[in-house]
Symmetry: C2
Subunit: 197 residues, 2 copies
């Protein structure tokens, strides 16, 4: 899997050959079948590996429970750091999210949906979500997750060591999160605040 991830930095999974991986590992082509049935099989395994480390990280971030202002910058920092340290995994996920192998696409979509669900659960128990319908909370969580994905892929497009470029993206992402937060706080402004139904 490490070898595959190494090769996947510069190509997509569907163009990656079984023999190519074996060659990189230094192993006979047939040995591949001892571990995976398909290339798609390898793909979903890599998806699980990628989201595994991320899940632990988000759990850590969520328990920090800082003020809603600092939590924005902290979130962006955490994303930046995680992308920096797991570049290959993120590149793989970004590339295969809409890639050619349906099984891999489905696995990624499933992980992201779980992610949004978790986040929605967290958002729902915050005081800012009072008066929100469950559907609207999920809608907001999806917006946050989409923005997170966009931010992560933006970090990926920075040339690896360019700390200035990273900082620029982090600044923009933070301000965008603030726009969304402001929208969230005024979501119920136009509705009757406490009308009985």
């Amino acid at each position: 899997m490490d070898a595959a991830l190494r090769l996947l930095e510069h190509q997509s999974l569907s163009s990656l050959g079984l023999r190519e991986i074996a060659r990189e590992v230094g192993v006979a082509p047939a040995a591949f079948y001892r571990h995976f049935r398909d290339m798609a099989d390898l793909g979903v395994a890599l998806v699980e590996e990628s989201f595994g480390s991320l899940r632990a990280l988000v759990r850590a971030l969520r328990t920090e429970a800082a003020g809603s202002e600092q939590v924005i910058d902290r979130t962006v920092e955490v994303i930046a750091g995680h992308v920096r340290e797991h570049r290959a995994h993120f590149r793989f996920v970004a590339r295969e999210r809409h890639g050619g192998l349906p099984a891999v696409r489905a696995a990624i979509a499933g992980e992201l949906a779980l992610f949004a669900e978790d986040l929605a659960h967290d958002l729902a128990r915050q005081p800012e979500s009072e008066g929100w319908s469950a559907g609207d909370v999920l809608m907001l969580a999806d917006l946050y997750v989409d923005h997170m994905v966009m931010t992560a892929t933006a970090f990926l497009e920075v040339p690896e060591g360019d700390t200035g470029g990273e900082a620029a993206i982090a600044r923009a992402a933070g301000r965008q999160l603030r726009v969304i937060r402001l929208g969230r706080m005024h979501w119920l402004d136009t509705e009757p605040p406490a009308a009985g139904a």
Copy 2:
């Protein structure tokens, strides 16, 4: 190019073979070189084709100049319709946006940047943007463009004829746009509203 686009619905560009295209067209493999040097060359041509039709459409939408409330629903409708009618083009762009061919990735990134710039220019001349810095306007435009991309790819994941699924995505996207619009309208709330500088 039509043949390539047809084949690209189920695979990515880097896994698509030159001979495969020739076979689909009903032509000798060598004929490919009469039109494109590379597969990457074909890729950037397809990118230009894809964004060409979209550009015209957005220009049309921008001149409609409706109330800021209806413009949201109208925008989502327009995206939905355009994705429905140019499914193959959108799928191609979504897939190759982070795909294996750098030239194609760069072409797509360039088109999206132009897009955001245009939108920023439009936003800047709206009364809601009074007091905004140029950087913040671009930041907002990027947020809108990212959301547009996310919405378009969400439409792509709907099984083609499923009008119910489309409607659900349209509803969610519209509400997300409303969140962003609310955030935009309260962006300057915490700053001194009319302090002389």
